[in-house]
């Protein structure tokens, strides 16, 4: 482990299940952050994170970064607050699929519009695992769980399509097992000026086992800047089956004005 990675770690005992891909996401995050810090362009103390509540959120205790271990579903407004409070912070929000797409969906559909300059990482394991496996909005039809004993009847939410539709200008998907690619996506997301959304597909080894072993479906795409193509890429997988292909990579990237430019500059010019 590099010295920077060491500094990014805490001594807190890891309580994820043995073999949980969250460990790999943690590793990817450390790889990205240490690279950025070592480049000299980012300072360790300038990073701040926000987590929701759920398995993903335990990352808060394992990363030696400033931040708020917040409420379930409220990662986005808390991140937005950090940026409105201090626009110079490099903010990363971590949320689970239940966090992001169930409890917190109302915030997600405004994030592209505000376009505050921070990164939103959603660990999508298609189940509420820390509450023992209930279905989330991205669980597949037929998924039998303790609260839906006859199985999920609704189609899952396609979060990439939603992000595109709501004006998010950086959308990437990664697969937790591919740590090198995940780290690259995180780096691109952090460097993107404006709101960036990275969905990391992450199997749960305990619940919703039917959605494990998707490995052969993933394929890497080059960075895409074309909106029409992005919409097609978003359609390629519907989260519901283990058929078709799952594109990973930067699904859409476009430059746009950030909250700081739009809002703070406008207020500043009005004050003159």
């Amino acid at each position: 482990m590099t010295a920077t990675k060491q500094k990014l770690s805490t001594k807190y005992p890891i309580t994820w299940c043995p073999g949980c891909p969250n460990n790999l996401i943690l590793e990817s995050v450390k790889t990205t952050l240490s690279k950025l810090i070592d480049s000299g362009k980012y300072k360790h103390q300038d990073f701040a994170m926000v987590t929701g509540i759920g398995c993903h959120a335990k990352i808060f205790d394992y990363l030696n970064l400033s931040g708020i271990y917040g409420l379930h579903g409220r990662v986005l407004p808390t991140c937005l607050g950090l940026k409105i409070g201090n626009p110079d912070l490099s903010v990363i929000g971590f949320a689970g699929d239940g966090d992001a797409y169930a409890e917190g969906i109302a915030h997600f559909i405004h994030a592209g519009r505000y376009n505050a300059d921070f990164t939103y990482v959603v660990h999508d394991n298609q189940s509420f695992s820390l509450t023992t496996g209930q279905a989330t909005p991205t669980s597949q039809q037929g998924y039998k769980n303790k609260s839906q004993i006859f199985g999920v009847v609704d189609m899952p939410l396609n979060s990439i399509k939603l992000a595109l539709a709501t004006g998010v200008n950086f959308i990437a998907r990664a697969f937790a097992y591919d740590t090198k690619h995940t780290a690259e996506m995180l780096e691109r997301a952090i460097k993107h000026r404006g709101f960036s959304f990275v969905e990391i597909i992450q199997p749960c080894l305990i619940f919703n086992l039917d959605m494990n072993n998707l490995n052969k479906l993933f394929y890497k795409i080059p960075v895409n800047k074309d909106k029409a193509k992005a919409e097609k890429l978003a359609e390629e997988w519907n989260y519901n089956t283990k058929e078709g292909k799952i594109p990973i990579g930067v699904i859409y990237e476009a430059p746009s004005s950030t909250l700081k430019e739009k809002y703070f500059r406008k207020s500043a010019s009005l004050k003159k």
Partner: protein
């Protein structure tokens, strides 16, 4: 001397403009005014009215009997004619039908003449603000009436301010950096006022997010990043913030909440007044954690209490709630004194960007990492408990209660918040004293002492269950049996209240 003038019409006819013009002219003449605004939840049409009370002494209430009726439509005349005193005057739209939008200005001119005020200053102001047509309308109104009162100039230096403006001023005095709010009557006045104040305060940014839940969480983010922040809302929005208030309790990020209440439950009566949210201010949020709840009773107190809340929140990493209501937030008061010099609110915490600082909604150790160990849990619980003890000591510096009236009377009135004005006006020549409770949490120990000294204790509240009474009983074990409660979504009127108090005096 006291006059009550009721100005009524449809929403959109500009009755507030009349109140503003007349109050402005009167304050220049050295007279105190109090403007009560009674309006419906609609934008055009309906029936709205203001009661503008005028006096040569400080007043902070309106009365039920009126000396003058300014009717911009027929309905006003019909609804309020019976409230007019025998010698009262009426001004109607008759004769001004051709003025269109300038009807309100013409009636202001008429009122100026009746009150015997100088039209020159008014004319000049109207000309610059509203143009020549409006100035002509003033003249026309002025010439249509005869002088009935001659309000000779008094030597008072008066400014006019609403409770909402005062909360904004208190926030500005505390160097507020960010105001985060979602529109909800009657808290919106502060959102608008602080938004305007961005023009003169370089550090201030006002942001309106997608919901109150977002507002509260954004505010915690802002505060954690090192900025002074306040959220503003009314009951429904405050309910939505509850979980985040609880997060504040655990994370100990300073947070100031402006809660301007209106009648509930549910949507209730959105543009009217009530004091029914003391309970939620005291208790909202799961778990046990310290907080400060302060209820100012007039604009000067609103300025001071808001500043105290910023100070206490920052000093203790605490939740402070400024509890107001529609009556205080939107009524316009005359002020002839200055608020206390504000306390400095300095951010001296460890901040992200400077060092590594973590906080959590989980019970956590000193590094901010999750804890389930009993020892650390006990430390956390006791730290929060001790914080409240420290807050209790600190607030002794402030006026937690105020005593008015005949200090050695055996009759004691208890009240809090916006009822102050009507009570002070009602008890002017009664044998009683009035203890105003500003700090509802922590509660002053003076309260028990005063109750024990008094023979006859009367509780006055703008709600149906007597929430302050319940709080006092909880803290002192003493039940206050004599209660004057008003819960028709309207504030007390001082003349009616005086009769009610008189019946209870011993």
């Amino acid at each position: 001397m006291r006059l009550n003038i009721l100005i009524g019409g449809k929403a959109g006819q500009g009755i507030n403009k009349i109140s503003a013009i007349i109050s402005n002219a009167l304050s220049k003449q050295g007279y105190f005014t109090f403007n009560y605004r009674d309006y419906q939840s609609l934008i055009r049409g309906g029936h709205n009215f203001n009661v503008l009370s005028i006096s040569d002494q400080w007043i902070a209430s309106h009365e039920s009997k009126i000396d003058g009726l300014v009717a911009l439509d027929e309905l006003t005349l019909k609804l309020h004619k019976l409230e007019l005193k025998p010698a009262g005057f009426i001004i109607t739209q008759k004769g001004f039908e051709d003025l269109g939008r300038n009807l309100n200005v013409a009636l202001s001119g008429a009122l100026i003449k009746i009150l015997g005020l100088d039209k020159k200053i008014l004319l000049q102001e109207v000309k610059t603000q509203l143009g020549d047509e409006a100035a002509k309308a003033i003249e026309k109104g002025y010439n249509s009436q005869k002088t009935k009162f001659s309000l000779k100039k008094l030597n008072n230096n008066i400014t006019i301010m609403s409770g909402g403006q005062a909360v904004s001023q208190g926030a500005i005095n505390s160097n507020i950096d960010r105001h985060i709010a979602y529109p909800m009557t009657p808290a919106t006045g502060v959102l608008h006022e602080l938004s305007r104040m961005q023009l003169k305060n370089d550090n201030l940014v006002v942001f309106q997010p997608e919901s109150e839940i977002a507002a509260a969480n954004i505010a915690l983010g802002v505060s954690f990043a090192g900025k002074r922040v306040m959220v503003g809302t009314s009951g429904g929005g405050f309910d939505l913030m509850s979980e985040t208030l609880s997060l504040q309790g655990m994370s100990e990020i300073p947070l100031v909440v402006y809660l301007a209440s209106r009648p509930g439950p549910g949507t209730g009566v959105p543009t009217y007044t009530s004091q029914a949210d003391l309970d939620i201010a005291l208790r909202a949020g799961h778990g046990e954690f310290p907080r400060i709840v302060v209820a100012p009773g007039d604009p000067i107190e609103a300025i001071e209490n808001t500043n105290e809340c910023f100070y206490l929140s920052e000093k203790f990493g605490a939740l402070s709630i400024i509890l107001s209501d529609k009556h205080l937030a939107e009524s316009e008061f005359s002020l002839n004194k200055q608020a206390n010099k504000p306390l400095r609110v300095d951010v001296k915490r460890k901040l992200p960007g400077k060092t590594i600082v973590k906080t959590s909604s989980y019970e956590h150790d000193i590094f901010g990492c999750t804890a389930e160990d009993t020892k650390i849990i006990n430390q956390g619980v006791q730290r929060r408990l001790k914080k409240y003890e420290d807050i209790k000591k600190e607030v002794q510096k402030f006026q937690m209660t105020k005593l008015y009236g005949k200090k050695n009377s055996k009759n004691l009135i208890f009240a809090w918040g916006s009822t102050k004005g009507a009570i002070l006006d009602a008890i002017k020549d009664l044998d009683c004293k009035f203890l105003q409770v500003l700090y509802l949490k922590p509660l002053s120990s003076e309260i028990k002492k005063e109750i024990q000294k008094a023979k006859n204790v009367i509780l006055i509240e703008n709600n149906v269950t007597g929430q302050l009474g319940r709080l006092i009983r909880e803290k002192t074990g003493i039940k206050i049996p004599n209660r004057i409660l008003k819960y028709d979504a309207r504030p007390f009127r001082s003349d009616e209240l005086k009769i009610q108090i008189k019946k209870m005096l011993k």
